[in-house]
């Protein structure tokens, strides 16, 4: 059909940041999906605890050590993550590169601690429903730690190539940082319910 020119977009930037970035909204949407998943698994934990005569079933409450330490590490990691986002916002590629390397370290350390968390539960996935739900809860969060670590590593590598100079990469860095906030945020309720739930 016939048309008339009503609007000129030539002045617009070639790439949108945060609110104006499509991937930023995509990340948000995936957080909503995974957040729902976490919420459901926590709901299952409460449901099972609610119908059980004893809780935890046939096991002492999990040791606080590794889990608490991991929580601290994750909270500390928020600082470099914040810096990544800020420097990315200023498109300071050099600083972003360094901060990403730091974030890799903050991705590996929790995984190491996680290896000690499973034994600290004093139960197995196949011992009883308590064992099953606790292992699944930890496992589910572990997969998020792993995926975000890999994502950070790939991104860091990318930042050291010529591609690191494009604004689009800045967006990727911001999405990755946003996702790390999510990984930490989801851990806190899990930590509370997993380690302090049985102690109430």
């Amino acid at each position: 059909m016939r048309h008339r020119l009503a609007l000129d977009l030539a002045a617009l930037p070639l790439h949108g940041k945060s609110w104006s970035s499509i991937t930023w909204w995509g990340t948000l949407a995936f957080m909503l999906i995974e957040g729902t998943g976490f919420a459901l698994v926590i709901a299952i934990y409460l449901y099972l605890a609610n119908i059980a005569s004893e809780w935890p079933i046939a096991a002492p409450p999990p040791d606080l050590g590794p889990g608490t330490l991991l929580t601290v590490v994750l909270l500390v990691s928020l600082v470099p993550n914040f810096l990544v986002l800020r420097w990315a916002d200023r498109s300071d590629v050099t600083k972003v590169r360094i901060a990403l390397l730091v974030m890799i370290v903050f991705g590996i350390v929790p995984l190491g601690l996680r290896a000690f968390e499973f034994p600290a539960l004093h139960t197995r996935w196949d011992s009883n429903a308590y064992g099953s739900i606790t292992w699944i809860l930890l496992g589910l969060h572990t997969t998020h730690l792993i995926t975000d670590l890999i994502d950070t590593i790939v991104l860091a590598a990318l930042m050291f190539t010529r591609h690191g100079h494009y604004k689009r990469r800045i967006g990727d860095v911001q999405d990755n940082g946003l996702y790390w906030y999510f990984v930490v945020a989801t851990w806190l309720p899990i930590y509370a319910i997993l380690y302090w739930g049985p102690r109430l």
Binding site: L5, A6, L7, D8, G37, L48, D126, Y166
Partner: protein, 641 residues
Amino acid sequence: MSEARAEAGDRTETLDRDLPPALLEQRLAVTWGTLAGFWGWLTTVDHKLIGRRYLVTAFVFLLLGGVLAMMMRLQLARPENRLLGADFYDQVFTMHGANMMFLFAVPVMEAVGVYLVPLMIGTRNIAFPRLNAFSYWMYLVGGLMLWTAFALDMGPDIGWFAYVPLSGPQFGYGKRSDIWAQMITFTEVAALAVAVEIVVTVFKQRAPGMSLDRIPLFVWAMLVTSFLVIMAMPAIMVASTSLILDRLVGTHFFNPAEGGDVLLWQHLFWFFGHPEVYIIFLPAVGMTSTIVTTFARRAIFGYVPLVLALIATGILAFGLWVHHMFATGLPRLGESFFTASSMAIAVPSGIQIFCWIATLWLGRPVLAVPLLFILAFFATFVLGGLTGVMVASVPLDTQVHDTYFVVAHFHYVLIGGAVFPLLGAIYYWFPKITGRMMSERLGRSAVGLLFVGFNLTFFPMHLLGLAGMPRRVYTYPAEMGWGGGNLFVSASAVILAAGFLVFFIDAIRSARHGAPAGDNPWDAATLEWATPSPPPSYNFAFLPVVTCANPLWDERDALPVATGLRVERRELLVTSAAEARPEARESSPRNSIWPLLSAIATSVMLIWSIFSPWAVVWGSIPIGIALIGWFWPKGTPEDDA
């Protein structure tokens, strides 16, 4: 250095307005086009090609599911029939349910959304087009896996709801239940991907000026549906995963002896399963609103109430899963609450019905085939909704639950409420998709056969149910006196099948020999009709600018459009979520083989993990590699900016 590159980019930029129309379309076609041949077929990320692929696949599954239905009717046509054995019948009815819900109903609605939403909101491609390609491959593999298993006598035999313990480690012998559970994973991954794409597309890629109150109702419906998918599907994925874990590595989620619970499964399943019904129904509401508007020849009556009704339905949908569990002996108080909420959902449905009738009342109805399907929808869906109110009542439900009354009820809701509008939508948008009209004559006979056949088939099932006939029985004793009713139903099913046959024949015939359609054969009001049929790879040479709710009606003489997009990279417009104010000229990914490779890697892992938990570890490595290949920049103008 980065600045230098950016400037260089800017210097070589060619703007659409600098080119004569013919050349512009040529250049855009080069930038946005799909390679010819098989390779192009594998690598395309064009939402129209993928949407069409989704549609065709879904309708193939509808055909297969229909064959299963006819087999069941053949078996039930007479008492103590030994045509299909018990074991085979169980597989057949499970396949019918699972296939229709997970491989037809949900995907077909998403397919229509994937095809139409970007066109209706005036953008050039869906958000995350590669994810879109990936989701189709996942859906395809999931479907093929289920049907292959069925062909191997390994089809699930546990009902589409797969209640434990029957589907659990002790009584679900072999891998049949795992096939079901993993098919869920495939289809839900696909569904979630599409949901994310649609949400982001609707939020960020609307044509400039398309503020919230100017979004076409079908797009609103797909938006709400996508949120339902995002909130509901995780429940079934958690459920099916824990089922596989119970069966494969011996967890105890559903084992009462070790602190698990059998009803936990039903809670999880129906927390997904009820919203599922609205995931299928709400897009149909959108289609109905669109068709009613066009064929009543006037703006929809009560746009805002209709949008609010959509949202209200979406929210209420999560408050009534327990009405599938009224016979499980849950506490009375809880049950009364769920009765109230289940009945409350009749109010938004009422609002929708009344607004549509008002639109027709105030308009000048044109009884073309799409509207005829909508009239068929009214008659059947209202009845289905009313029987829905009946099953929402706890005491009444204890009599009809798990009987043929319920079979009748949900077929009235799903076929009457979703499939009739869907077929109407196919007749309505077929010209846009193929550039050719479907046959009005065949269309009318299809509506007639479907409507008559449907009611003759399913209405008697209400009575059979009240007469005590339970669901999912592979046969029944002669002395129960259900023989006559069932024979009648089976005979009527032939009429229904004939109706679908006429539809398929018409669709296949018209795709080749239908009358050429032109841009806007129905003189409709929404943006998808502002571009040629079928639309070019870039959808719009100039992105439309929206000034009102029914642009093609209120801007008859000339549609306002925007300029200033570059042609040598795939460029589309990002606008603000509420007002749709232009924010950036964003690039959209090019065609790629990586989505297919990632889908293959993921499929290998998922199917392997039916047999060994280690598949999750080793199988994830190729997935990781494929994803890195997917996201690593290729130095195209789209990546570099």
